[in-house]
Symmetry: C2
Subunit: 399 residues, 2 copies
Amino acid sequence: MYFDSAATSFPKPKEVKKAISNFFEQELGSFQRTDTENSDFIYETRRKLSDFFNVESPSSIVFTSNSTESLNIIIQGFLKNGDHVITTATEHNSVIRPLVKVKHEKNIQITWVKCDKYGFVNPDDIISSIKDNTKLVIMNHGSNVTGQVQDVEQVGQRLQKYDGKIKFLVDISQTAGHIKIDNSKIQADFLAFTGHKALLGVPGIGGFYINPKVDLPPFKVGGTGVLSELLEQPKAVPLKYESGTLNSLGVLSLYHSLDYLNSLTTDKIASDLKKKTCYFLDRLSKMENLEIYSLENPLGIISFNIRGIVPSRISHFLSKDLDLQCRTGLLCAPFIHEFIHNNPFGCVRLSMSYETTWEEINVVCEYLKNINEQAESIQNIKFPEIYEMPSIKNMEEYV
Amino acid sequence: MYFDSAATSFPKPKEVKKAISNFFEQELGSFQRTDTENSDFIYETRRKLSDFFNVESPSSIVFTSNSTESLNIIIQGFLKNGDHVITTATEHNSVIRPLVKVKHEKNIQITWVKCDKYGFVNPDDIISSIKDNTKLVIMNHGSNVTGQVQDVEQVGQRLQKYDGKIKFLVDISQTAGHIKIDNSKIQADFLAFTGHKALLGVPGIGGFYINPKVDLPPFKVGGTGVLSELLEQPKAVPLKYESGTLNSLGVLSLYHSLDYLNSLTTDKIASDLKKKTCYFLDRLSKMENLEIYSLENPLGIISFNIRGIVPSRISHFLSKDLDLQCRTGLLCAPFIHEFIHNNPFGCVRLSMSYETTWEEINVVCEYLKNINEQAESIQNIKFPEIYEMPSIKNMEEYV
């Protein structure tokens, strides 16, 4: 059973599988070259994404290999000496580590904003952290740990009164494909996405939306297939950020998966996963030894621990007895665990998709009920506490 | 007919096609996580690549999305204020543009070394350019424009007497898979490769070898699936450079294509393409209006112009009449054209693979013979010379 959709979605739509299989029957040149007919599906996928996120122009969609690359291009490129940036305790290491790297290299200030025990960030805390030199707000739209979705619309709208002085970067890795991303409401300057999660594409494709009014230097530079005579990177977006051979297979997967998502609708997906998480949590809440970190959510995420048992042991049982794939630990988001109170071992994360069946959910609930009942008799393996847990209270500034 | 293998190889081995098609039938988690059985093929592919390049350790092979990314990680990461770097006129924009970017940001010196009229760089010119502050030599192993292969073994061996003070970066994008890359002879500290050319993988996968003794900071940082509690990038290679979700489909394609290449052998491929280019050039040499820029080569590249006709017009004819796909222009390598004397329009590049048939070659030769005979009567389209051609003579230092 596959309960790891929040890491990589499975299964992919049949249209995606078919297109990938057929890809190799075509004579394939370098697909991203803008002077060949074959490149059309690249542009078309940009168009589909710009519609999907409700942003103005297809050419404001840049392809990268994943969200991490998108976030690095933006964070390492945008922040300058003297800048202040506000971000949250729910961020993934793909935001934390670039910020820490920039802080080592440049004179920047970072304010880390707390979350509640389910991972919710109060928009007031973001807005009240604004200073004269604040240039960027970075928010994780949905927590990969708890499934909590943030009110980025409220933050985006409240940032409008700063007349574009403060840019807004939203990490939609975990939400895109699960819920409607309407940037006319969020008003983000940057949206960083990945293709292999709920967008139902293959691993190794991602990208970002960039507000055409924002000036951002390129990060990696090189061949662009056109304008070969320029010794510097061409200035036009998306070419500016897309040096080297694209993962055209990845783009093709999105070309087809977006059609599938549009026909199914994200509303239907969100509603389905809310029902499933609600039912799942209701069952878990009756088990006395369970600590639950998720609320009903459209991301399909259920995070918990069974008191006295380290999470990796639970996933071992699930794997051995149910052939179930899930994820445990800190889940690449080290700060949030301080607030949901499961340091230092993190939690078990079961994550579902639209394809997860009620039967599967019942089997897992039944199994966890048994574990819960035997919890006290399960001999736990004591892990040495070998590492010091990071805390935002140790960072220079936190709210 | 496909004569664009130097851009992207086609067809891929049937084992690659089959593996990609089957990929979606498996329950796929995040394959690069080192704690799951599924990740084995990632490690195995590193092992196959380390054998293929004859380098010591599988963990010195880093995956990236393409050569351009590899070259950016190395060039932007390695060069520091005060460093001198030596490179050549045959480089691709994936080397030139990162160097020009670093020069804008840091105080570095670059010496550009000339090539002869077929793109050959004299190793003496590299060695005689060495200064006290030389830290890096960058060489394109094989020219994507002419097919010329450089004597990187000689350069690598002559650099040994500098006791590791000068690192050696070889761009093997165009040669890996075509000829044996034996790093025990080249002694490069970095080998940058891409998967979608002669390594017969899919687009969007590449990587580099790094000498374990070399210290190179990470470029993009973020989630690594393990060691989530560290706020800084883990220091172990390859994790240090591999943040974010890998193109696991791309890695899988290399897993299988390397088996195919090992069973066929690069010696056989190189010998086949030498025969084909030799025959092709022999036929072209009898056509009076042809200017030929290639010598016999194992990369399968034939570059030429027909006097008085701009190259894009030739490819238009070839596409229209023979349904042939090839490439024309500057081919992302702006400096070499000054030395092979085809500025400002570049050339026509026909590039072959082991799968190219003698019948196809004969059809193309026959067709070009006709064009050649009618050359004077073909009305050329006059292109305005809208751009100034770059010249290494305008760079600060050239040899």
